[in-house]
């Protein structure tokens, strides 16, 4: 394994660094797709996927390849992978509250479970770095966050924690910073575009 890594490193140096696949992970409704859209729109003018207030709007990972991040005179090419919200439970009844009929809610639940399983599999196999998105108005100490950061740390993947939704009146992004002192935390609003330059700077630094 170590020999393979050395060979991989040698060729990376010889032919230029490979393009990193950066996964956007986090719990449902943290604003992952809004942030992914903001990043991709800033660079390409396109969107990566639809957003809504209904949990699990993103049920399949979506990938945008070759996103060029420019910051401080340096350029970095990454593939952005927007993933479904990670959770340990999905109940279709939750979707009925948003006006869906039963068939639609059941289908959504099935797709969401498949999407989360796929995203977890990719985290093991296919992701080079993680942007972990949290809603600044929510408690960051939920077990799913602790578990995910533990998994990311155990895989030694570079990670940036994004304290999102700082435009909301109840936002407490400092709580996220104090929860994850061992990782870089960037406070942004994916919706309003606040502090995106700080995030691009950190992406250039951490995923290079």
């Amino acid at each position: 394994m170590a020999v393979m890594m050395r060979i991989k490193g040698f060729f990376s140096k010889l032919f230029g660094k490979k393009r990193s696949r950066v996964g956007i992970y986090g719990p449902p409704n943290a604003g992952k797709t809004t942030l992914a859209n903001r990043i991709v729109r800033d660079v390409t003018g396109e969107a990566i996927g639809p957003v809504s207030e209904v949990p699990h709007e993103t049920r399949r990972a979506r990938r945008k390849e070759g996103v060029e991040i420019n910051s401080g005179g340096s350029k970095l090419l990454i593939d952005i992978v927007d993933t479904p919200g990670v959770t340990t439970k999905i109940d279709y009844h939750e979707f009925l509250e948003y006006g869906m009929d039963q068939d639609e809610a059941v289908a959504r639940a099935r797709e969401a479970t498949e999407g989360v399983a796929e995203a977890m599999h990719w985290l093991r196999e296919d992701i080079d770095g993680v942007i972990y998105v949290l809603d600044s108005t929510q408690d960051p100490f939920m077990h799913v966050n602790i578990m995910m950061i533990g998994i990311i740390e155990s895989r030694k993947l570079p990670v940036i924690i994004v304290a999102n939704k700082i435009d909301l009146p109840d936002a407490a992004p400092q709580r996220i910073r104090s929860a994850f002192p061992q990782h870089p935390v960037v406070m942004v609003s994916g919706l309003e575009g606040n502090n995106m330059d700080d995030l691009y700077g950190k992406i250039s630094e951490v995923f290079r």
């Binding site: 109940d91 989360v116 578990m147």
Partner: protein, 124 residues
């Protein structure tokens, strides 16, 4: 007939004799029967990832809705990490205790500084 919730407490000795997939299979089989599982030694991050992935593959609308999970970690291990901030001591734990149960019965599972609180109800 006794009514209530079965709690399976699995010793670290038993867990150490099992492979990761055996542990995950045992946990999910128990939880799907409505039991609450307490592991003396928590799962590794890799095992937690596999548990989450396996859980998602077994959720069925109208049937199994998933799990509640909470950990009370030990303070041994390498320095740094989230748990050092949470529990002090400047150490990252290997994971000392883990409680896992079916989401429709384990209504509330919370962690305070030095205790886990679980509210369980019997199956409907």
């Amino acid at each position: 007939m006794i009514q209530g919730v079965q709690i399976d407490m699995l010793s670290s000795d038993r867990l150490s004799r099992m492979t990761s997939m055996e542990k995950i299979r045992l946990i999910l089989d128990d939880v799907r029967q409505g039991y609450i599982v307490v592991l003396e030694k928590g799962l590794t991050p890799e095992e937690q990832g596999k548990l989450l992935e396996s859980t998602m593959m077994e959720i069925s609308p109208g049937g199994f809705s998933g799990i509640e999970i909470e950990t009370y970690p030990s303070t041994s291990g390498s320095e740094g990490g989230l748990f050092s901030k949470l529990f002090g001591g400047g150490k990252t734990p290997a994971g000392r205790l883990m409680v896992i149960g079916p989401v429709d019965q384990l209504k509330m599972l919370t962690r305070e500084k030095d205790r886990l609180i679980a509210w369980a109800s019997a199956a409907q």
